[in-house]
Symmetry: C2
Subunit: 338 residues, 2 copies
């Protein structure tokens, strides 16, 4: 088993000093052609690669970025991670992904773990528990240490940092408007408690209804406590409330809703239309395929990564924070009528 080779080994072997080796490998002009060639050949032979950890310690730069997402059941988050990965790797950064599992405690632990030197900056989306608790001290702690942070999707006004979001209110507004335009009048909403994005989407829903001259009916709104399927609640909702369209704040709710109404013998989209947030595999392959609001997660991830890396590599901290808004797109499929 050949152990990892270091500058010291090369120096000893070639009977030169460590600094000579270091310079030779960086092709420094200071070193004679002869020694450079000799050292470079030797290094190549033994496949020398500088130790990242040592370089990090020296430079106070890890070239790692920490990503904290609440879960991976929502396809949206995985696409964002993918976008971050792609962009970050291109700029020579590694991505350390941690899951908060929608838990406040795990979010705190993960952040503290990474904040102690492991990463140059954070990209994160809040856990539901954190948004419910409204306790952002762990995040403020990190930013106050000067660690750059970009929040995406589930963000909060209480933390000063760069942000990337879609215009949730407007996206929901447009979706509902579309439903109204296609003649629907009893438009339901399935959303969740405590989530910033869900709240914004709910606002858009109400706005479109008001503008459409539809009187608000609270019965048409089903608010589920967690982002998990409460089968009974959904069943009860569709059993007791009459509606001709549904907007759901995520695709899982929508897919599940479609199953329920199909079992009841309703036809989609003739009897009832569905639109879901997030354009994931579920939407695409559902039967009927689900009209969806694409959040362009990969793009969102790339933008977040760019904002973060720019900040990381930009020496002077401006203390100027931007909020980037990614356009969403309504993708019409079989679950709505044109």
């Amino acid at each position: 088993m050949k152990r990892k080779i270091t500058l010291k080994h090369i120096a000893r072997e070639l009977e030169v000093s460590i600094s000579t080796v270091s310079k030779a490998l960086k092709n420094s002009e200071e070193i004679s052609k002869d020694t450079k060639e000799k050292i470079q050949a030797f290094a190549k032979l033994y496949n020398y690669k500088p130790n990242n950890i040592a370089v990090s310690l020296k430079n106070k730069r890890t070239k790692n970025i920490g990503v904290i997402i609440p879960n991976i059941v929502h396809h949206f988050f995985t696409t964002v991670v993918r976008g971050i990965e792609k962009y970050a790797n291109e700029r020579g950064y590694n991505v350390i992904v941690c899951l908060s599992d929608e838990s406040f405690d795990k979010e705190v632990i993960n952040m503290e773990m990474l904040a102690n030197g492991s990463i140059d900056g954070f990209i994160m989306s809040l856990s539901t528990e954190t948004q419910a608790k409204k306790d952002y001290n762990h995040i403020k702690e990190v930013t106050s240490q000067g660690i750059p942070l970009v929040m995406f999707d589930r963000v909060t006004d209480e933390v000063d940092c760069d942000k990337v979001i879609i215009n949730d209110k407007d996206s929901a507004y447009k979706a509902v408007k579309k439903l109204l335009d296609s003649g629907r009048r009893k438009i339901a909403l399935i959303n969740t408690e405590n989530l910033s994005v869900s709240n914004a989407r709910t606002e858009g829903y109400y706005k479109a209804l008001r503008e459409g001259g539809i009187s608000i009916d609270e019965k048409l709104v089903l608010t589920l406590p967690h982002e998990s399927i409460d089968e009974k609640a959904i069943q009860y909702f569709f059993d007791t409330v009459s509606m001709d369209a549904v907007l759901c704040v995520n695709e899982i709710f929508a897919i599940y809703g479609m199953r329920v109404v199909q079992k009841k013998g309703l036809k989609i989209p003739e009897d009832i239309s569905f639109i879901g947030f997030t354009d994931g595999l579920l939407s695409k392959y559902a039967n009927p395929s689900l009209s969806a609001i694409a959040q362009h997660g990969e793009n969102m991830g790339a933008v977040a990564a760019q904002m973060l890396i720019d900040k990381v590599e930009n020496e002077e901290d401006d203390e100027v924070y931007r909020t980037e808004i990614i356009d969403s797109t309504l993708i019409e499929r079989e679950s709505t009528v044109n």
Copy 2:
């Protein structure tokens, strides 16, 4: 902006030596109660946390594990990552996830990047390109440096290391047997080229047919080049071949196949049954819901993480490699008859 505090700062502030501070914070018996309390209070006040990078350099232990997966569109891989995460975090390890994007080059780059000190060990699943190329030098390089490695799912005999797999051949065998038992005779298979798991599943498929006394018909096997949907090929397959059941090596193929036959007016499962590998959200929420072979990815990830961390923390390297086989489960849903 309060900068990150170090032992040195504390030492200077309290006019003691760095090592005194270090010892005091580890509650060493060597230090007097008075100084310990003073130092600990100060450290707590300024929220001192040791710098991971420095500790890593010193200990030659990063407490990071590198995970390289081919993609995240297959739900299976995300569940494995989740299992790794959960287990690793419990044991105080961070997980660095990299995507190879099914590309050989990206796999190589990611491994080299991480191998230079960033991680204590690898958990990986091969990219399709790597399995097609059969070039495993980058992996052998890593293991020969003494970096522990656990491969899962897409593995190869050419690399000596710990492995975690499901019994793909047997799982496919059982699935096909089930179909035979329910009276199906023209059982098709949709698989992919070059993937170890796909090949093993194909073997199981043939074995079950042979044992069932069914003559092999090559026309019933559709082999797709990549793990992506070739819509035309699939459409053509179902248009030209007559069958009463289909086994697919992943759930996306199955879901897509179901759509195609449904559009042709066939009834599932009356006219044709479907079984897919991977029990993901798509299977669960499809309409009809898809009978699936659950690979228990989360469990697989946890097992892989355990094997890896045990190896990492076990000083003497045994050079004894184990292959752990995770049981799969056939989950019967609406796409098959009982």
